[in-house]
């Protein structure tokens, strides 16, 4: 039993908890819980009114059950009742229950907010704090709506108790983080900044978290905080360890506050005021000096608190990146930590040095620690520390040490943890290319990568080595020789076979002079791997074979024999079979000249890439390309259909090389950033944009956007880098659209910038997005839209960002269509027909007859019509097969009533759609939009 049970003991609760603990099995526990739930339910439902104590006890039991991981679907009302109890413990338990088990039940939220409102105005600081804690714990939008105005007032009021101020500050922070649009800046903001001067250290500690968050979002409005923060920091840093009484932690004065002050300063550039800056530099120097002093205590808490401040100071120094002296001192300090016996410090030193490596002032200083870091990579027992060491090696790599670092990373890969292999592979590949002086080293490195960690070598990496080999004549012979040797290994990775097949198919002739690698030897070597490979690799090998026929006529008979065998020409895989048939035919009927032309050596990559894509687009129509984008597997699609010669097949398998890798490596011979030569990625994207003047291209664009006519949420766009999700809501003539930009890569997007241009009939306001999107992160953008009058053209969204140096440019239509502003109108049959007749002028009606392009399932049709935004009227049309709908389009200028009738003809698989409205343009537009939906 617990040592103390202060305040009120709830005996029933303790007994219940003991029971649960004594349960021998999960089943017994569930049984006991169900018994208790039944008991509580009957008590809550019973006729006898429960007293406060029992209610509190049962609510507390429910909470315990919930925290054990079971669902709780009742008791909320009782908990809300407890909130208005005037007994503190009951109120407290009520609030705890609400905080843990928030329920978005609107009825309940109103009651909860009422109780909170009462407590906030009670002027009893304990009650006020409870209420503020609850708001901070729940932090929902409803609460922000109710209290975002009130809390700033409490925070800055002169007569508010310190403890209440502390809670109010952090409560406001939580609301601001959850619903920034609801927390309005005002005259309170300047007063909040001055809380940095407050006498009560607790108030400063709480307030600074709020100020830091507000400053990072609105730096200009809060910039007076810089000088205040510096002077506060200076006072703490220079105080004796006893000055701050209970705010001194293991002999370190106010460590939390110090860290937060240093963090706040990182929202700003170095202070411009010389005196302020001097004072700050003095503080930073004092902190660095203190690190060298003997510790005042042997306790780890002392050194942790002290070093926490030190690391935060170093972060600030790195952030400023302007004081060479401090940067080098920071680097030396971290160097000491690299060999510290505390694992935590080694970890943090590696992490912190990583950012230091990118500063021009300290890059050289960081490099002096290379041996220690390599040693850490080899000997650290904790994978998370080794990961940091690998990161640091990557960051400190330059031309002078690249060979050493790449070699160390390669040898580490042999034993590296599975969790970090893929990342390591990518890093090695990037470094190898970035710092390659001679390309034979580069080829060796990548082949080694495939040999050591073939499973983790992504397509981008092996595509890239092929691109480079093709583009550089000086390395082709070496590559052919090396890959030939690598393929001799009895077990070699499939990626090696791919690279081998490709390179020997192109450049096998360069080593064919040596009898040890004569054409037939090369072919037999490749073909010995054939049966162990997957379909895509086999397809690639078949292409290599036909290339061999061209390169080495003497292999023709052997290869034709292979192609002719049942296992090829009757292969159950269509792709393989087709290649076998076509290649066999090609090799037997084409003259040597034709063969040589068709199977010519691949030209250098960049120009080829875009021309192939352009050709593909023209040949197959943009529709095919857009499908590939959505499916995210171009390869299959590109190879999957249609007629093509051998050359095109090979080319196509390369054309789908995702250009991001190329951009990532930044070594392309043409600048992908320039608008004239878009990289493959943006070229594919261009198909979506309106840039293309051709009608077909516009059609594709509509396709993406037309999917959203009858729905508001979904994925608007996706390519290999970026996914854009959309969520929107409309009320009357107003709309709000949330765009979610997801970075699908592990590399950050920089200079991320979006613009929305609207037709004149719409008005919009947009908040700008952060210019940095971290790898794997998602950022959100809110667009507010107001419909001024009816419109046809949708707003255009343009997204620009840099990914690994290459500029990406994407244009999309935002799915804002006139029907979004529909308000459904219910009406009876008589009303409907009367209005229908009233709208009988020819220009008021728009009609289309069209073929069903999807199934004619009733439920699907209904869902689409509801999604359109109109009311679906039952029992109006005399023919039950037909659908009629009514709605009013709300624009700022006017309201446009709209009636709709859809007549399906299941036999003919046709529809007739008729729209009538008081405005001809509206009838036509809604009719056009809707006709594309069925």
């Amino acid at each position: 039993m617990p040592a103390v049970s202060k305040g009120d003991g709830m005996r029933g609760l303790a007994v219940f908890i003991s029971d649960i603990r004594n349960c021998k099995s999960k089943e017994a526990e569930i049984k006991r819980i169900n018994k208790e739930l039944a008991n509580i339910r009957s008590k809550f439902k019973g006729d006898k009114a429960l007293d406060g104590y029992s209610k509190k006890k049962y609510v507390c039991k429910l909470l315990f059950i919930f925290l054990l991981g079971h669902d709780i679907d009742f008791g909320h009302m009782e908990a809300v009742n407890l909130l208005s109890s005037n007994k503190y413990t009951e109120k407290q338990i009520g609030y705890l229950f609400i905080s843990v088990l928030v329920n978005s039940n609107s009825e309940l939220i109103r009651l909860i907010n009422n109780a909170i409102k009462n407590d906030l105005s009670s002027r009893n600081p304990t009650f006020m704090c409870l209420a503020l804690h609850c708001i901070a714990n729940v932090g929902s939008r409803e609460m922000a709506e109710a209290f975002a105005g009130e809390i700033p007032r409490i925070l800055v009021a002169g007569d508010t108790m310190d403890s209440v101020k502390q809670s109010a500050a952090l409560c406001l922070l939580r609301l601001y983080k959850a619903s920034p649009d609801l927390v309005l800046m005002g005259e309170w903001t300047s007063r909040v900044v001055h809380l940095l001067n407050d006498q009560h250290m607790g108030v400063v500690t709480a307030a600074i978290s709020l100020i830091t968050c507000l400053s990072s979002k609105n730096p200009d409005e809060f910039k007076t905080c810089v000088s205040l923060a510096v002077s506060r920091l200076s006072r703490i840093v220079s105080s004796a360890s006893t000055d701050l009484q209970d705010y001194t932690y293991y002999f370190v004065p106010a460590p939390w506050l110090s860290c937060k002050l240093l963090r706040l300063l990182q929202c700003y550039p170095p202070p411009e005021d010389g005196a302020v800056k001097g004072r700050l530099v003095e503080c930073l120097e004092t902190i660095l000096n203190k690190a060298q002093e003997p510790p005042k205590s042997k306790k780890v808490q002392h050194s942790n608190a002290k070093n926490a401040i030190l690391f935060e100071a170093i972060s600030l120094i790195i952030h400023y990146d302007s004081e060479p002296n401090l940067l080098v001192r920071a680097c030396n300090q971290l160097g000491q930590f690299l060999q510290h016996r505390e694992t935590n410090l080694r970890y943090l030193a590696l992490e912190s040095m990583c950012t230091l490596a990118s500063s021009e002032f300290s890059h050289e200083a960081v490099k002096t620690h290379i041996e220690t870091v390599i040693n850490a990579l080899k000997t650290e027992r904790d994978v998370s520390v080794r990961q940091r060491a690998a990161d640091l090696l990557y960051a400190m790599c330059d031309r002078s040490n690249a060979k050493q670092i790449v070699a160390e990373m390669l040898s580490y890969l042999e034993t590296a943890d599975y969790s970090i292999r893929e990342e390591m592979v990518l890093k090695v590949a990037i470094l190898a290319e970035k710092y390659a002086v001679d390309y034979s080293w580069y080829v060796d490195t990548i082949l080694n990568l495939i040999r050591i960690a073939g499973d983790y070598v992504s397509e981008e990496v092996w595509y890239r080595v092929i691109q480079i080999v093709i583009n550089r004549d000086d390395v082709q012979g070496y590559a052919a020789k090396t890959v030939f040797e690598a393929l001799q290994a009895p077990a070699c990775h499939e990626n090696m076979v791919k690279v081998g097949g490709y390179i020997l198919g192109e450049f096998g002739n360069l080593i064919a002079g040596d009898p040890r690698s004569s054409p037939l030897v090369q072919f037999n070597l490749l073909h010995s791997k054939f049966h162990l490979c997957s379909v895509p690799t086999r397809a690639l090998l078949l292409s290599a074979y036909i290339k061999f026929i061209n390169l080495f006529p003497e292999t023709k008979a052997t290869i034709q024999e292979v192609l002719r065998s049942d296992s090829q020409i009757r292969n159950s895989d269509v792709e393989l079979q087709q290649r076998a048939v076509e290649y066999l035919k090609l090799s037997s009927i084409a003259s040597t000249d034709v063969l040589a032309t068709v199977l010519e050596e691949m030209p250098p990559f960049p120009e080829r890439e875009s021309s192939i894509l352009a050709k593909l687009k023209k040949k197959k129509g943009p529709g095919a390309v857009s499908v590939e984008l959505e499916d995210g597997k171009e390869r299959g699609e590109l190879n999957g259909g249609g007629d093509r010669g051998g050359d095109a097949a090979i080319a196509a398998s390369n054309a789908s090389t995702p250009s991001p890798s190329a951009d990532l490596l930044g070594l392309r011979s043409t600048a992908p950033a320039s608008g004239a030569t878009p990289s493959a990625g943006s070229l594919l994207v261009d198909v979506f944009s309106e840039a293309g003047p051709s009608a077909t291209s516009a059609g594709v664009n509509d396709d993406g956007f037309l999917r959203f006519v009858c729905k508001n949420n979904g994925v608007l766009f996706e390519n290999q880098l970026l996914q854009i999700g959309i969520k929107s809501e409309y009320r009357q003539n107003l709309g709000r659209m949330y765009l979610f930009y997801g970075n699908k890569t592990s590399v950050q997007f920089v200079s991320f910038n979006t613009t929305v241009s609207c037709p004149g009939e719409l008005f919009r306001s947009t908040k700008t997005v952060e210019p940095l999107v971290e790898g794997g992160a998602q950022v959100q953008q809110v667009i507010n839209i107001e419909c001024l009058t009816d419109f046809i053209d949708a707003p255009l969204l343009n997204i620009k960002f840099r990914y690994g140096g290459a500029l990406q440019n994407i244009s999309l239509k935002l799915p804002v269509t006139i029907n979004k502003f529909f308000q459904p109108t219910e009406m009876a049959a008589a009303d409907f027909f009367q209005r229908w007749k009233q709208l009988s002028q020819p220009q008021q009606e728009a009609q289309k007859i069209f073929k069903a392009s999807h199934g004619m399932d009733t439920e699907v049709l209904k869902a689409k019509l509801l999604g359109l935004g109109t009311a679906l009227l039952e029992n109006v049309d005399p023919n039950p097969e037909n659908y009629v709908c009514a709605g009013v389009i709300q624009t700022k200028a006017q309201q446009v009533g709209c009636l709709l009738r859809l007549e399906p003809n299941a036999q003919a698989q046709m529809y007739r759609l008729t729209l009538r409205s008081s405005k001809d343009t509206v009838s036509q537009r809604v009719c056009d939009l809707l006709a594309e939906q069925f």
Binding site: L173, T205, A308, D382
Partner: protein, 148 residues
């Protein structure tokens, strides 16, 4: 801070505090994943790890693991001391706190945490002030009980 979890060596969750909105399902998944990850780590390993896009800071006290998830720019060492200060507060309040105290008086553990951290940030770092607030509340209870 995004959330704090307390769990036993057997992997049983003893306290969970979430400072970001997440569904019940997500919470359960995160807790399960993290508990597994941390229990699999050896004693001498470093107290920090990268996990998804978060930094995890954890420390073991007797049979209990205390684990915090903080954001990229947050300070690991000071978070470690946040944990320690919370342990000190529990210890002072219960008098040599043990896992059982937190099991049987879980609501108190939550109340103390709310006085110390709010919305994921330090509200009051002075041990005296936090305990004073809790004791005042306890006193308030007793007064009300006497009135009854």
């Amino acid at each position: 801070m995004q959330f704090m979890l307390l769990f036993s060596r057997q992997g049983k969750l003893r306290l969970q505090k979430w400072y970001v909105p997440l569904s019940d399902k997500e919470r359960k998944k995160i807790s399960r994943d993290l508990v597994q990850t941390i229990l699999a780590r050896k004693p001498k390993m470093c107290s920090f790890l990268e996990w998804r896009d978060l930094k995890i800071v954890y420390k073991r006290y007797a049979s209990l693991y205390f684990c915090c998830a903080v954001e990229d720019q947050d300070n690991e060492l000071i978070t470690l001391e946040i944990i320690h200060r919370y342990v000190e507060l529990l210890d002072k309040y219960f008098g040599s706190v043990c896992e059982l105290d937190i099991i049987f008086n879980f609501e108190k553990a939550y109340f103390i945490l709310d006085e110390f951290l709010l919305g994921g940030e330090a509200q009051e770092t002075s041990k005296k002030n936090v305990l004073k607030a809790i004791e005042q509340a306890d006193l308030l209870q007793e007064v009300y009980e006497l009135v009854l």
